[in-house]
Chain length 336, copies 2
DNA sequence: AATTGTAAGCGCTTACAATT
DNA sequence: AATTGTAAGCGCTTACAATT
């Protein structure tokens, strides 16, 4: 700390602007000068001051990420580190850093985002949370700030947002169809919070597949889970109070894990008495008893594509917008 | 974007310095002036430019976090989101943001840290990775930059580093002792990579407990696992090739999950043929078959304490240093 | 003594001018 | 035409001066 462009300039016997140009490797500077300046930089241990650079150049090199709120249970889902990995992979190449603004609740979240954006700490934002409220999206949209959402902003009817998502209706259909093809008769479903589009869509896919197979959906075999394993456990218990489905579609592996436990606690064995299928293909799936059939949703790719779209959006400007849909792949194991 | 302190000054009919003081709620400004200036700020939609503030005030409001490298398998361990939650919880209160520098490998990691620090993008750093090489620690130490490590820097012999950790020798002792008390005879162990202090320590605890009980440790029943479930699976298989221990200590639940599967694949049932115990008390533990006995290590608290120490270190200066040791708590379930 | 303003400076970038 | 320098400016902070 302390060595500035001026010190280097003096040492290399050039003007500060020349040093600045050498730092950015400008073609306007001759090779000999560059050599001399770089030499001086090395000798003095010069490092550009990022804040000064940002102030003058108007870009920060930072991308803001809105994770689910750390207070929410969502935060602990393996999806997020995986998506974050994907984002990191591309930001790394472009020499950008990630800025996280810790927020405990919805109000803080909105304020955190506004501060990040309005105080100029980031060049763009990725909204990595299905619960992300329309509010954040519409606001960013309205001020024309670069952002991309991981999830489907379809209900907002905004034409030019960048987004990346799985085809969750398709995934709902896929897992339901798989059970149907296996010959299961009465197929129930455990969804997550139905204020999330991802859950609405997977449920919709389930309904479509059931209908296409000429099966009626039975409300007694449908339950909305709240939080992960416990939520899945309780939801399954509620279903079992109404009767015994032959199989159960679950919109998330963590729900499936809870549901399986509930079945077992009621004396049912998986997959013989009840088949169970999940979504996400999380790490433990193949080590569960029985190994859980699931859908790989490619969270890493989701993150990667999101970062790529955002970078393009930043570079090209508001006239750019695009979306990427990533298809799931069923991973067959033995739980159904 | 666009509204500066000067615009507000003009609108409120004061000087820029007055506006600046109002922003920081300086006691040197009268209530009436504050009111008037704030009014103007609201009307114009003023937001302070964070970069300019940082440039002049010499602090950024950002804390850098070195997560394990996203390319490493470690990155996907539930420990990290949990520790991150704890860090977030305290940074939120102090209105600080988190800066992550994506790094794919060791070299990039070092460069990322150096850039973060030397370019002045952060006021302090938390090293959240047991593999974090001494190099990073000793460097930060040598330049007197505020940092805290989650993990035990003991081998470096640096006197004044801030750190936070479990007592991993104690944890190793605790889980081994638990098996001994349960009457298990031949107790093996699956450790992780022994270049990590956490693993060395837990192994040490195991040895201490065995010795104290007058049991000899059997190299045939000791294995080093590489990556998580698969690593635990393979390690257990290697042990079973040498014979059948009556129980196995595992330094991580993910290893335990793999190990249990390996036992089952060889026809052994848990806990009747082989007892298994893990460490970390991850979310799925109680939903496993059988539910896994483990040790709660309070990753959230670890993160929280780390952030608190770091903030103090930043505020007070290099003469401050402290460490926090968080004790594990055994969570009894049915796997042993 | 309490309140406000002046002006320099933080460390860069970049339009424009100057030099060869 | 190729290379370098001058100087203003980015949006703040803060020591010091000035005013009441």
């Amino acid at each position: 700390m302390g060595i500035t462009i001026k010190d280097v300039a003096k040492a290399a016997n050039v003007s500060p602007s020349t040093v600045s140009r050498v730092v950015k490797d400008s073609p306007r500077i001759s090779q000999e000068t560059k050599k001399r300046v770089r030499q001086a930089m090395r000798e003095l241990g010069y490092h550009p001051n990022a804040m000064a650079q940002s102030l003058t150049s108007k870009n920060t090199g930072n991308i803001g990420i809105m994770l689910p709120r750390p207070n929410d249970e969502e935060f602990n889902h393996p999806f997020f580190p995986e998506a974050l990995r994907g984002i990191s992979a591309v930001l790394r190449i472009h020499d950008r850093d990630i800025l996280l603004s810790p927020a405990g609740n919805e109000v803080e979240e909105r304020r955190a985002l506004q501060r990040m954006v309005l105080s100029g700490k980031v060049d763009g934002v990725v909204l990595l949370s299905s619960r992300i409220s329309d509010e954040l999206i519409t606001w960013l949209y309205s001020i024309n700030f670069p952002f991309v959402v991981i999830g489907n902003p379809r209900p907002l009817g905004l034409e030019r947002v960048c987004w990346v998502d799985n085809d969750n209706i398709e995934i709902g259909r896929m897992i339901t169809q798989y059970l149907i093809d296996k010959g299961y008769e009465d197929i129930g479903i455990i969804t997550g919070d139905l204020r999330f589009i991802v859950n609405i869509d997977r449920l919709e896919g389930y309904k479509q597949a059931m209908e296409a197979a000429g099966k009626s959906t039975n409300r007694a075999y449908m339950a909305e889970a709240d939080v992960w394993e416990d939520g899945g456990y309780n939801a399954m218990l509620r279903i079992l109070r109404n009767g015994k489905p032959s199989a159960v579609v679950t919109v998330d592996d963590l729900f499936a894990i809870g549901a399986i436990r509930a079945c077992r606690d009621r004396g049912y064995s998986i997959p013989y008495d009840i088949g169970v299928i999940g979504v996400n293909n999380i790490g433990v799936d193949q080590y569960l008893m029985p190994p859980l059939t699931s859908v790989e949703i490619y969270a890493y790719e989701l993150g990667k594509s999101a970062a790529e779209l955002l970078l393009k959006r930043i570079e090209i400007g508001p006239e750019y917008n695009d979306c990427v849909i990533i298809h799931g792949r069923l991973v067959e194991r033995v739980s159904c």
